[in-house]
Symmetry: none
Subunit: 413 residues, 2 copies
């Protein structure tokens, strides 16, 4: 069973909204073993939608549409579908009842536009939309299933969860899909590919590998397809186990882990806490950590020491060290980490000091020069990094490098 | 001139990443008067890409592709394009030089995979990618322009801004387009629409208005299209001037301003400095501010006081106040702001304390309860907010509210 998703609406084509519906639908469909072959975004035009439906029906046996069901006149999905299937619109009594209640509960009467929400394509199966007024419609035509849903994300999700996914799962039969994503840090895509070439070539043909790079990280996604879910899980877990032997130093987690969440798990296991002292990362380490619900169990806080005055007053960095070595130096990074650990009363602390750019670089310390320190019960470790010219990326890369240095420190203990 | 966007990669079709590239590209293309007719996401399959190219070339005279240019073997865009255009791959010397420098600067040698990044389609115009190793390629074939770019967002954006958009703008002919975006804060889309209805109805027909909502903010984009750029600028600036009279209290800036950059400009005009003391925002205020190049002229630092110990030790919040009123209270917000102003030696300080969620709420203080304080030479002001249940949004909304409270404080002086 192959699915094509068609999203309908000018607002996507002018970039006013990002199409998050498709990724959500694709994830859900994959989880029940159904593959998405194409995602197509078309304008609010009957001719364009008709063309997209024709093409989709050649590639897929299920076509899921979202959008174009609203009451205003720029939405014309229903009329275009009637034309495509050569059917008429008919009144659906129980939908009319639902729409009437929907507005009455809000103290509003029914306009003609609201009333028209209860008109559906003759012969379709109406899918009840408990979150809104436009119903879903399920049609079968020349061996292909067509489903029309509203584009409002929570209405679409409600219809998918209560109607569309269960019906498709029941139809799809036996094929199962199992994914596992391995998260690596600190090695570029091409170097990683070289290192794991032999392992990659030995992968069974039922497993596909994809490289997904982002700043500082490469995710490796394994996908196994087959009839027996148990066998797929075993094949994937064998492949992961073998990879862990090949590149143990680069793998920091799996699936939805982040460097911050992995560090959090390690700290919770020890019953320990951490703080940060941030110059060039400017609070981004604290922000990454505090994006994780429940981080207050292991994160105490941070001093964003952007000026030298704050480095001295709040972290106890010595004026003489600042003058002799400069703010971007190994010793200042050490004193920042040690000061944060002491004053914020934590077991560990991470510190960053560097030149994020675009200005402020010198020949000796160009933009992108960053010193990172981790202080803990077994002393303080440091590392120097040389990133590039982009301020935003330097902040992200420094944040990741600092979290990773702490991760390695914790693992070595 | 019509554009079709094709995004290439299984990671989109399995829902692992949301396609944000297309919306960004569509917005930029629209801003230079070029329409996007369809967005298509296809798999890492040569046959599928070829089919999409064939169909796109029927609808559009420009086809912009992203993705599938990485060095590893799951990326096959280049080979598929060679096949489609019946051309070969050839070595591009200056790209090879760039790739070699790119890795040498990082102390790394060149692998075969890196070397292959410098292979381009024979006869294409190579677009220099200063942010990465895979170059863009511009090809013209039977009257249609095809452009291939990497899928990594910042590499694609770099190529679009430096090469693709200027080239397309030069081709697209004579019509001039002038945009102006007015940034509003603190009023919802439908209420804003009500307030400015009369103004909107009086807009000349040459000016189009779009509402662009995001959490806490609504951007109003005015677009004027015509032959005489001077007249367009005058029409837009007249409309903006009239709107400033209608809703002065909601407008905080224009175009690429942010609340943080506007606050920075106000502080620099006064020659003053600011610090933050952050509990529920967890460093995000500092992060927003330090994303602005040159902010060290007015930003000293922040104390992320996630635990009560840090609130007491680093900001001087009194234990008795914490016990009697709780960490999420007006008095604690005041003491945090005043403590940060004193200890970080700044003219102003902003503080946040609240319950970001998803847990930690009570009947009296549900998730989303946030107290914000601004301390300055004219005393301390506070405001209470009641946001909703989403942790990520609560952090963003609290950050914006805090920056806006400081903005209003500075304006009133």
């Amino acid at each position: 069973m192959n699915v094509e998703i068609i999203t309908i609406g000018d607002e996507i084509l002018i970039g006013q909204i990002v199409d998050t519906n498709s990724a959500w639908m694709a994830t859900e469909l994959n989880s029940i073993g159904i593959k998405v072959v194409q995602i197509t975004s078309v304008s609010d035009s009957a001719a364009h939608l008709t063309e997209a439906l024709d093409n989709a029906a050649k590639r897929a046996n299920v076509v899921l549409m979202t959008g174009g069901l609203g009451p205003t006149k720029d939405d014309l999905t229903k009329k275009a579908l009637c034309n495509y299937f050569q059917r008429n619109l008919v009144l659906h009594e129980s939908t009319l009842q639902h729409v009437t209640n929907f507005f009455n509960k809000r103290g509003l009467g029914l306009t003609q536009l609201n009333h028209d929400q209860a008109m559906v394509i003759d012969g379709c199966e109406v899918l009840f939309n408990e979150c809104g007024t436009a119903p879903g419609m399920w049609m079968e035509h020349e061996g292909v299933i067509f489903v029309s849903m509203p584009g409002v994300p929570f209405e679409m999700k409600g219809l998918m969860e209560t109607s569309v996914l269960p019906k498709l799962a029941a139809r799809s039969g036996m094929q199962k899909i199992v994914h596992k994503t391995i998260l690596t840090f600190g090695i570029g895509e091409s170097f990683l590919a070289d290192k794991i070439e032999a392992w990659e070539n030995e992968l069974p043909s039922s497993i596909k590998l994809a490289y997904l790079p982002s700043p500082g990280q490469v995710r490796l996604r394994l996908t196994a397809v087959g009839n027996n879910e148990m066998i797929l899980y075993e094949a994937i877990s064998k492949a992961v186990g073998e990879l862990l032997v090949v590149i143990p130093e680069y793998i920091f987690g799996f699936d939805n882990d982040t460097l911050a969440s992995v560090v959090g798990k390690l700290l919770m296991k020890k019953g320990s806490t951490v703080a940060s002292a941030e110059s060039c990362t400017g609070g981004n380490i604290a922000h990454e950590i505090t994006s994780i619900p429940g981080c207050s169990r292991w994160f105490q806080g941070s001093v964003v020491a952007y000026s030298n005055v704050v480095k001295m007053n709040m972290l106890g960095v010595e004026e003489e060290i600042l003058e002799r070595h400069g703010a971007v130096s190994e010793l200042v990074a050490c004193q920042m980490a040690e000061g944060a650990r002491k004053r914020l009363q934590t077991d560990y602390a991470i510190a960053t000091t560097g030149i994020a750019g675009p200005d402020g670089g010198t020949v000796a310390k160009p933009v992108g020069t960053v010193w990172i320190a981790v202080a803990g019960p077994n002393g303080t470790v440091t590392e120097k990094f040389s990133f590039a010219n982009n301020r935003e990326r330097n902040i992200i890369r420094s944040t990741q490098a600092a979290l990773n240095l702490l991760r390695l420190y914790l693992l070595k203990e």
